[in-house]
Structures are given as C-alpha cells and as structure tokens.
Symmetry: C3
Subunit: 198 residues, 3 copies
Amino acid sequence: MFFALDIAGTFVFALSGAFKGVREGLDWLGISVLAVLTGVGGGIVRDVLLGYTPPAVFRDERYLAVCLTGALAVLLFGRTISRTWNRVMLADALGLGLFAAMGAAKGATFGLGPLGTIFVGGLSAVGGGVIRDVLVGERPAILYKGFYATAALAGSATLVVLTWSGMAVAPRLAIAASVATTLRLLELARNARLAQEA
Amino acid sequence: MFFALDIAGTFVFALSGAFKGVREGLDWLGISVLAVLTGVGGGIVRDVLLGYTPPAVFRDERYLAVCLTGALAVLLFGRTISRTWNRVMLADALGLGLFAAMGAAKGATFGLGPLGTIFVGGLSAVGGGVIRDVLVGERPAILYKGFYATAALAGSATLVVLTWSGMAVAPRLAIAASVATTLRLLELARNARLAQEA
Amino acid sequence: MFFALDIAGTFVFALSGAFKGVREGLDWLGISVLAVLTGVGGGIVRDVLLGYTPPAVFRDERYLAVCLTGALAVLLFGRTISRTWNRVMLADALGLGLFAAMGAAKGATFGLGPLGTIFVGGLSAVGGGVIRDVLVGERPAILYKGFYATAALAGSATLVVLTWSGMAVAPRLAIAASVATTLRLLELARNARLAQEA
C-alpha cells in the first residue's frame, strides 16, 4: 500500500512538472525531462543526503516509468487534465503529505535527530518542486508560498512526535501524511475563496 | 584509451564553461570556477547518484588539472580558439557521446535497470552544462534545445540495448558514443545550414 | 574549540541567509528555510561529495538549532543587527576562513589530492552562499565578486601546503583559516574605502 501511494505521489509530481513545461513552451523532450526531475527529485535528494545510494528511484524502474507516463498523459490529454486541475491539486496535496511522512520516517530510520528528520522529510516533499522551479528560472515556490513548506514541515514534525509516542508504523505514517495533506488542502480552499471574492 | 577520451571530454566541457564565463564578463577567477564546475559537474552528479564517493574526479587530479588548463587556454588564447569554434563544437559533441556512453556503462555496472541507466548516462552528459547555465542565471539549454538531450539519451539507450546483446565492452561503448556524437553533429550541421539560409 | 568555531560559522552564514530573505520580502518561514540552507549548505555539499553521509549537520542537532536561532534573531532583532552589519561581515569572514580550512582538512583526510582538497575546501566555504543566491534567483556572488572565492581557495591551498610541511593539526587549521579571513577582511576594508571616496 505504501509503495502504491509513493508511486502515486511520484506520478502527480511528474504531472506538475509536465504542466510547468507546457506553460513554459518546452518541446516534448523538455517536458519529459522536467516531469522526471520533478517526480523523482525529492526522493533523490533525500536518499543522497542519507547515503542510501543508488537512490530508491533507481532501484525500481517503476518510479521512472510513472514519470514518463505522467509526461505522456500531459502531452496527449493535457487539455482534459487541465479541466480537472482541482483533482491534480488534490493528488499533489496527497503526494506532499505522503512524501513528507515517508521522508521523515526514512530519516528517523537512519538515526537522525528530530530537527534533521524534519529537515529531510521537508526536503523529500518539496525537493522536486524546487528543482522544477530553478530549472525553468523561477524562484522556488516554497520560499514565497510559505504554506506549502509549512504543510510539509508540519507533517514531518508530526511523524517525529508520533515516533516518540511509540505508535505503530502504519498509523504513524497515515496521521503524519494526513496532517500535511489537510493543511495543504485548507490553504488551497482559502486561496480559491480569496480568488472568488476578488 | 577510454581514460584519454574521458579527459578530452572533460577538457572541452571546461572550455565551454570558460567561454560562457568570458561572454558573461566574469573575471579570471569566475571563469576558472565556471570551467571547473562545467568540466567535472556531470561526472560528480553521476558518481554521487551511484554512491561512488569521493567521485572519480577527486581520485585522479588530472581531471581538475585539465579543467584549469582549459580555463587558462581560454584566458590566453581565447581569440584564437573562438575562430576555431567549430572544432570546439566537434570536441564537445565527442565529449557528449563519450560521457553518455560511459555514464550509462557505469550505471549498468551499479545494477541499475534500463530506465535508470539511461537517466544516469544522460545526466553524466548534460549535468555540467546544467550547472553552468544555472550559475550564470540562464535557463539550462537541455530543456530548450531538445536535441542536445536527445543525443545524450539516445547514446545511453544504445548502450543499454547493446548490453542486452552481449557485445564486448569496447565496441559497445564506441557504438553508443558514436550514436550520441553523430546525432549531435547532424543537429549542428542543420543549424549551420539554417543560419546560412537566413 | 573547533566545534565551537564551526558552530559560529554556521550561525553567521545562517544570519546572512536570513538577511537576504528579509531583503527579498520573504515571510518568516521562507526566511527560516533560507537561513537553514545557507548555514548548512556548504557542509552538506562537502560531506555528500566525500561520501560522509548522513552529513555532519544531521549527526549533531546543534547545527540546525543554531541556524533556526539565527533566523529567529534576524526576525526579532533585525533592525539592531543591521546597525552592527560590520560585525556580521567580520563574523562571516571568520566563518569563511574556518569552513575553507576545515573543509580542506576533511578532504585531505579522505585521501584527496591537492587540487581536489582545494576544490572541496572552497565549496565548503562558498556552497551555502551559492545555494542562497540561486534560490532567490540571483547570480551566485562567487562568480562575480571574485575575491570572496579567492579568499576561500587561498585558505584551502594554504592548508594543503602546510600539510606537506608536517605541521601539527591545530596551528595548520589556524593559519589556513587566518589567511582566508584576512584576505576577506582586506577586501571588505578596500570596498569600504572605495565607497567612502565615491
């Protein structure tokens, strides 16, 4: 189940990279490159920092395969997916929560302290997006749209606290991921309301 | 022979970094830093991803030495080298092919699957250029000049296919590198023709 | 003593990141993220390159703690600290020297040759600043304000030469750090004089 969610998170991050590529007017190859780097970037940064090399995304080909599938989906059905952008944002929020929780869990497994665990969990969740934004020459959204990073860090911090509580792994991950995803969805809802009022 | 070609590739990538530094109006130190980071960047990214640390460029001082030599050559003879820019582009295409082939071969040695191998081979070939472009505040060329990345990925993919065929290492590397270099040279020739017609 | 100086260097680099965040109009979270990444960035790059993972900053929570303290200090007392900016630049110069010397020493411990050692020492000293500048969309200062990198590389090179001389570790580090810090302070003094004359 966690692997499935991990793959789902990778897929939606790849979608967000591919959409950014379309907006920037890239050709199909640039879109694919951006989709792959956005999809796997956070996990690569996490694993390189932890010394878990080659990173997980190179140990199971399905990670890269779903990124390419995401790029292909945007190239073929981009117009349709845009109409369902809200669903993509929902999936992105799910991916954010999952990556924050699993990144923090992996950091704790490697013996990091609470601050280090939160740092690595946060980077797992936002790393792909930072790479995406730097590559297209934009300021990374995490610095300017604070709540995205807040949600990731809150999810990682939740995992740290729950680890102290001695809770089993599965509910611990589920609760930490839910905290991050919920915070992110609340922010999206608030932005949508503000946009409507304006 | 492969070491010699590897050094040659590092050298021409360093040249491209140094020339970029000249165009950006950097001082001699900025030019040297950019030459070194462009020359060794792809190899460092490759080796860090594979967990081969310290990276090869730190295990044999000749890599850094040829980068500095490249920077010095541009500082002293830049005007002359510019006149022979076509030869530099030829060398760059050779380096691209070699790095794609050897990066992919190294990835396969570390047990990566085909997609991972192509990914790492492509990064080996283009990583230095991405670092160079990000450092001077430009969008990385790989996203916008698709054929450069295409050539690298095609070379890496050729190596993967040839590995399945059971071919010996030397011809495998030679063919894969040739595919990437040839694709790159065809693109350069096409661009030159377009420029002439315009 | 060295740990104390290392922590001090991390702290002042975090301060420089936080100040940059204030100037860029980031919110408190963006400022904290930038402070942390600037403070620990150089050490992370160094340790990942050397294969010393997880990096030192994740093995002792005090590194991340002082970065957050630096961010908090800027948020609470930013106005006061600005008035004492000269003192911050002094501390930054101390941090630069220390990171260059200790980064080079760590590289030598991992068996790197002289060029590799200087490269890693230089990256330790400037890596955090490069990350800071790229994240806010500026050209990294090291490429354009050559003397900053010169000071770092000179400090690392001094350490390499002193290692050959067979000098004990403590004076070796102290002299190498002093060389880098002094060069940096001379440059700051020169800039201040130029500004006064203009």
